[in-house]
Symmetry: C2
Subunit: 253 residues, 2 copies
Amino acid sequence: MQRYFIPPEQFGATEATIAGEDAHHLIHVMRARAGDSIIVSNGLNREALAQIASIGKNAVTVKLVEDLPMYAEPKAQVWIAQSLPKGDKMELVIQKGTEIGAARFVPFLSARTVVQYDAKKEAKRLERWRKIAKEAAEQAHRNLIPEVDAPVTWNQLLALAKEADLALLCYEKESNQKLKTVLKQAVEKRGGPDGMRILLAIGPEGGFTEREAEEAEREKFVTVGLGARILRTETAGIVGLTCILYETGEMGG
Amino acid sequence: MQRYFIPPEQFGATEATIAGEDAHHLIHVMRARAGDSIIVSNGLNREALAQIASIGKNAVTVKLVEDLPMYAEPKAQVWIAQSLPKGDKMELVIQKGTEIGAARFVPFLSARTVVQYDAKKEAKRLERWRKIAKEAAEQAHRNLIPEVDAPVTWNQLLALAKEADLALLCYEKESNQKLKTVLKQAVEKRGGPDGMRILLAIGPEGGFTEREAEEAEREKFVTVGLGARILRTETAGIVGLTCILYETGEMGG
């Protein structure tokens, strides 16, 4: 069944309004008719089976028929902090990370970030990233749309680690700290993964500098490796996220 | 250090010859000189530190200085069987799967395969897929290049399952068999993951049919789910592979 995220302000107690591109999609691509059933979510805390009540020129009104259980969100919230990669790789990270179950994306700039950061283009790019997150969340039957932050500095990332229950820095030179051991201990210490916030920081194409790894370790980050093979920057987040969700019982565990 | 896979026939006891595109890359892109060090692998059972002895017009001769340990290959061999996806998604599966650690890719056709299979174009496409596997293996510092088979039929895939120690079929309707439980039991039964061959079959965009799931189960496949979120076909293999390698201790476990 077709699924749409609807902004909370358009999501009432008994009915909701679908507007903009989603309305266009529903009317012209899906050729929906009054009486058709769809699933709608406010992207926060409510998801419902809905029936199309009326179709206007640019909007569709639906009647909420039945609240649905929200079971598609992982118990642990994984925040993928990704040093801005080249080309359109951030889009791949957001699309795949959303499908797999990330809760938040935090692009950041670090010493070896290759791309030229262009503040002027930021608003447009951020809008595009959020659209990709929304569409991937709909496709994956997520209950929530992951947040996508505007790019932050290295120091802001270090500060963000304080808000997380566990902060991991993928560092290929690190071979002492085993990801599995670190995860198991952190989950156990917390009495389970429910509501746990795990920040997973991935370096740019050239990796983190030694100095960055040291600074991160001083600010509560644990440096971990992801095995003997060298992963591209856009692959590391997807793989690290999958490992965390597997360990916390979310991948058919 | 730059790494190249060299066909075994060009890989001697004390020296090796780099030809073709790799020679071009080494001479014109890397601007290599006699005396420079590189790493060469025959892609099978030998990897060595080498020193460039001479640079010809289309070939580079290297002296093998020291054999290197081959530690980058996972203990378990994971074969990703992927029902041919649309567009260039098979390339993403091969590139990312190679980085993560797959041993073999088996494209196949199933009831809901959307793409038109074109036998005429097959040779060219297979060549391209193998090139992607080679380049991703070099980049990821793999010791071996994963095999990429030519596309097989559904019945050939069922027959291939007999050669595997464990055959898994990702099936979203399945919620009884837990991937983690199935993996743990199979690894334990075998006394460890060493040399274990695990076939992981992923359906096309529309998934496997009920009939295919039944046929697969009759032919030793175990159907498993990959969690509550619906993964795109090109994401499922990457995620399933990561889970298997995490469980067998390869992802920094």
